[in-house]
Amino acid sequence: MTTSPPRRTRIVLADVTRHDTDHTRAELAEQTQVGEALVRGLVRAQLALALRLALVVAIGLGGLPLLFAVAPQVSGAELFGVGLPWLLLGLAAFPFLAGVGWAYARLAERNEQDFVAVVRRPER
């Protein structure tokens, strides 16, 4: 077998800025102490954001069965002639999840932009 498996290229951040990112990439590629710490900080920040939003969903949506169980008058409530559980689960849940998702995408992207801004500062 003479062909080697296709090379995997590990990307840290691509396309975050349109400007010249050679310096940034070189900085990260050098794996300096500071660089490493910054990357780890970014990863931790993203994880914290994700966990916080996951908690919002866990309480907002995951709490519903509990709510229905302990408060039957909520289950029986009606809006526009349709039962509240139907509206919440069959209709409102999806925009709620999409909204949380959209919030995450925006905030995560901003985290990454902040990170790149910090890394590029030494060049100025």
Binding site: P6, R8, T9, R10, I11, V12, L13, A14, D15, V16, Q46, A50, L53, A54, V57, L61, G62, P65, L66, F68, A69, P72, S75, G76, G83, P85, W86, L89, G90, L91, A93, F94, P95, L97, A98, V100, G101, W102, Y104, A105, A108, E109, E112
Partner: protein, 358 residues
């Protein structure tokens, strides 16, 4: 069923699928092309493709059928699935793409450095793929036999053949186009009749979805018994029926409960969560259902693999967000079908084969 449009429609969709697939054939040149579409798929295409492949027969036929049978508790299935996509977005999409790996077992090996883990992951992927195939083929066979009266096996073989050909010839590129097309096709195919159904329901004077005495036949229906069972009629009396017995119901007759079929008949149970039906419902069952659907969606290898076709991590994230929206949009429909099915096809509650409601 004598609908003259059915067979031509099936033929047309099959031909379009094959045509789109062979267009992709031109684009499959390197391993990168074949496995990950050269990583150039844009978020919208990718999202439509994931949506198309994920929103399979189980999603719409199955969920609609479950809602018809059991009511509001079944809504946790679509919500769980959608939440799984959110979990993917929050925790998996970007890091997975950035690892640079080509497939899921590849990723396991890169991250955790173990060849054996790679093999284990591969075994799991194959197993999950197999588990997934079976209900898809069941859906294909069921659809073809319900709608066109063709033998069940033909549906399964036809679908299997077309998909295998598409994948073998075109790889990821072809498949992406095909699946994106199918998402929009499915959405339209379900949305348009749903609109007509609602209008019909309005015109009908909005018959109650849950009349107090339980589901009621809309039109005169004759039921032919295939298996002996005990029926509990509307007034509480019980009747035992044998094979080939014919039962006639007029409009307005309540649907009898069949001893061999498990379904929810009481209006309160169907409408409200936590009713006293079935063997072990209750909070524990609901929470384990939620956990299962959302963790399961998060782990689907054929969805995860799509993230590799994005140009970068950010695109992977955006793709997942769009998928979340498309999936959410789609799931409004089976719910509608399930609920209206309670009014218009209550006879399915007698056979238990409620997947046929759509």
């Amino acid at each position: 069923m004598g609908n003259p449009y059915v067979v031509p429609a099936i033929v047309a969709v099959t031909l379009i699928t094959v045509a789109i697939g062979s267009y992709g054939l031109k684009l499959a040149r390197t391993t990168s092309d074949f496995l990950v579409a050269s990583r150039v798929v844009s978020p919208t295409w990718n999202a439509a493709a994931i949506g198309g492949e994920y929103l399979s027969a189980a999603s719409f036929l199955g969920v609609a059928g479950l809602i018809l049978k059991y009511g509001v508790e079944m809504l946790w299935y679509p919500v769980g699935f959608a939440a799984g996509y959110l979990a993917l977005l929050l925790f998996v999409a970007a890091p997975l793409r950035r690892s640079g790996a080509f497939t899921l077992p590849d990723f396991c090996e890169v991250r955790l450095g173990s060849r054996r883990l790679r093999k284990l992951a591969t075994a799991f992927v194959v197993f999950i793929g197999w588990l997934y195939l079976v209900p898809q083929l069941q859906g294909a066979g069921l659809t073809l036999s319900t709608v066109a009266g063709q033998p069940y096996a033909l549906g399964a073989l036809l679908v299997g053949g077309v998909v295998t050909a598409n994948v073998a010839l075109g790889g990821m590129r072809a498949i992406t186009f095909v699946q994106a097309f199918q998402y929009w096709l499915k959405l339209t195919a379900l949305a348009v009749p749903a609109i007509f159904l609602i209008l019909h329901w309005q015109a009908d004077g909005r018959p109650e979805i849950t009349p107090p005495q339980g589901p009621v036949f809309r039109a005169a229906t004759t039921v032919v018994v295939e298996r002996p069972a005990t029926l509990t009629l509307g007034d509480g009396s019980q009747v035992t029926v044998e094979r080939d017995d014919r039962l006639s119901f007029v409009a307005g007759d309540p649907v009898p409960k069949v001893s061999t079929v498990d379904a929810t008949f009481g209006a309160a149970d169907w409408l409200l969560p936590g009713g006293d039906h079935g063997a072990d419902r209750g909070l524990f069952a609901t929470y384990s259902l939620i956990l299962a659907t959302f963790l399961g969606t998060m782990g689907l290898p054929h969805v995860l693999v799509r993230f590799y076709t994005n140009p970068d991590g950010n695109a992977a994230r955006r793709t997942t967000l769009v998928v979340l929206c498309l999936v959410g949009l789609f799931y409004l429909l089976p719910t509608l079908y399930g609920a209206l099915g309670r009014v218009y096809t209550p006879q399915l509650l007698m056979t238990g084969r409620t997947d046929a409601v759509v």
